[in-house]
């Protein structure tokens, strides 16, 4: 599914939000892919993602270690993580290209910057998944302030009620942006929730000192 697509927000915040997915294709190149995927996992971890995890084990935010994520690799292994800077995200792609494991790589983030990166590294982008917005009964949607935080979990596990309650507590000064981020961030099970961006969004709501 398109769980890293459809993130909402302003360019100011989206410019520092890159989700990297490295995927073995079942029945095509998954056999023997484990060792290569371990190298990918270790390389991206060294670069410093804001979040990393797996559906099988959970994320670093929920207390899972990179060793546990590696041990939890299935027969069709995958690496999912998020980078809060363009520099780190592009460094990760560059490193994966050098590793040459043959695994498929997608990068979700601002188009222009991603295409510039491909040009710089001599990469020929293959396909694109475009987000064409939300349609239908849009009066059911929460505010954009809430949606920015909701849409960082494409699986829909970080829900509106908790975000609305957490924003309210931050506004009232009962909760710090850091603690608010921990409360909502650990609900994402795959590891693509951008906690640095979430913290900045909560900082906007916090009372001015």
């Amino acid at each position: 599914m398109t769980h890293s697509l459809h993130r909402r927000g302003t360019d100011e915040y989206l410019k520092n939000d890159f989700t990297l997915l490295v995927t073995a294709a079942s029945g095509i190149n998954h056999i023997g892919s484990r060792d290569g995927m371990i190298k990918v996992l270790e390389a991206v971890w060294e670069i410093g993602p804001t979040n990393i995890g797996s559906n099988e084990r959970g994320t670093i935010l929920s207390g899972v270690t990179v060793d546990q994520i590696r041990e939890g690799f299935t027969k069709v292994p995958r690496v999912r993580c998020n980078f809060a800077t363009k520099k780190k995200a592009f460094a990760a792609v560059k490193k994966i290209k050098e590793l040459d494991t043959g695994m498929s790589v997608t990068l979700s983030g601002p188009l222009e910057a991603t295409l510039e990166m491909c040009k710089e590294y001599g990469i020929k982008p293959h396909s694109i998944n475009l987000s064409l917005d939300v349609w239908g009964k849009k009066d059911k949607l929460p505010s954009e302030e809430v949606l920015e935080l909701v849409t960082m979990c494409g699986h829909g596990l970080v829900g509106r009620p908790l975000i609305e309650e957490t924003i309210e507590k931050v506004k009232q000064g009962k909760l710090s942006p850091q603690k608010a981020t921990v409360i909502i961030g650990h609900l994402c099970v795959c590891g693509i929730y951008n906690t640095e961006r979430a913290e900045k969004l909560f900082e906007k709501c916090a009372p001015k000192k």
């Binding site: 599914m1 398109t2 697509l5 459809h6 360019d11 989206l14 989700t19 995927t23 073995a24 294709a25 095509i28 190149n29 559906n55 099988e56 929920s62 792609v93 043959g102 695994m103 498929s104 997608t106 990068l107 979700s108 983030g109 601002p110 188009l111 991603t114 491909c118 990469i123 020929k124 982008p125 293959h126 396909s127 694109i128 998944n129 475009l130 987000s131 064409l132 917005d133 939300v134 349609w135 239908g136 009964k137 059911k140 949607l141 929460p142 949606l147 849409t151 494409g154 699986h155 829909g156 596990l157 970080v158 829900g159 509106r160 009620p161 908790l162 957490t166 609900l187 099970v189 795959c190």
Partner: protein
């Protein structure tokens, strides 16, 4: 999910965690609205109930309720696709699968996203209209598996009322049909009882351009600047 009424102390700690707002507070205890619960598992995994009152009863996995978990809990695996998730690998592995070939576009309409949820029957407003246009839905997508007849887009009666976090209508169209099909979706969206997030998958042209963006803009659809690119590092590469 359910909450053991003999254990629950009514602290209310779990209430905001449910993405659907399905946990309700009674006089002395909390309980889960069985009809609204999508079985995503957040409450049992993440709320740290102080008395472990939340549990998954056996009927959660009985048909047709069992489809809720498949479409809502990313840690569960769908027997049809063999992978965790609500759809196919779409663009993620397209460089080696060629699921979306040059000359075609992939379309994914994810009902219930973001954060609202959907009844499976609510997708019919779009699937029936698209089926009339001759659309063939993706066979490896779990939603297609729940259609009475994929040629009509009608959802099986016994699962229509099942509520899930989201469900994806997924299909491929020839490039020349872009304007006609997008206009059909555009026009039908106004009749939807629910929301859906719309994604379109395209190959880059050999010269690296994306003519689809201009074609979409000409019919009033502006893609977000934020997107997902398969950078083409997968091997063996399929160029078709």
């Amino acid at each position: 999910m359910r909450i053991r009424q003999d254990l629950c102390i009514g602290c209310g700690q779990c209430l905001p965690y449910c993405p659907m707002g399905a946990i309700e507070r009674g006089k002395h205890t909390s309980h889960i609205n069985w009809d609204e619960c999508v079985e995503c598992g957040i409450c049992i995994r993440q709320t740290k109930c102080p008395v472990n009152a939340i549990y998954e009863p056996p009927e959660t996995m009985e048909w047709p309720r069992s489809v809720r978990k498949v479409f809502s809990d990313p840690t569960s695996k769908h027997e049809n696709t063999g992978v965790r998730g609500r759809g196919t690998e779409e663009v993620k592995t397209n460089d080696v699968t060629a699921r979306f070939k040059r000359g075609f576009f992939g379309i994914a309409l994810e009902f219930g996203r973001p954060g609202v949820g959907t009844r499976l029957g609510d997708v019919e407003v779009i699937t029936k209209a698209l089926a009339e246009e001759g659309i063939r839905f993706e066979a490896a997508n779990p939603l297609t598996f729940l259609m009475e007849d994929a040629l009509t887009g009608i959802i099986k009666t016994d699962v229509r009322n099942e509520k899930v976090l989201s469900a994806i209508v997924e299909f491929v169209i020839p490039q020349e049909d872009l304007e006609e099909i997008c206009t059909k979706i555009y026009d039908t969206a106004g009749k939807a009882k629910c929301i859906f997030s719309w994604a379109l998958i395209s190959r880059f042209e050999p010269d690296g351009t994306l003519p689809v963006v201009e074609r979409l803009e000409r019919i009033g659809i502006k893609p977000s600047n934020n997107m997902k690119v398969n950078v083409g590092l997968g091997r063996p590469l399929k160029e078709e």
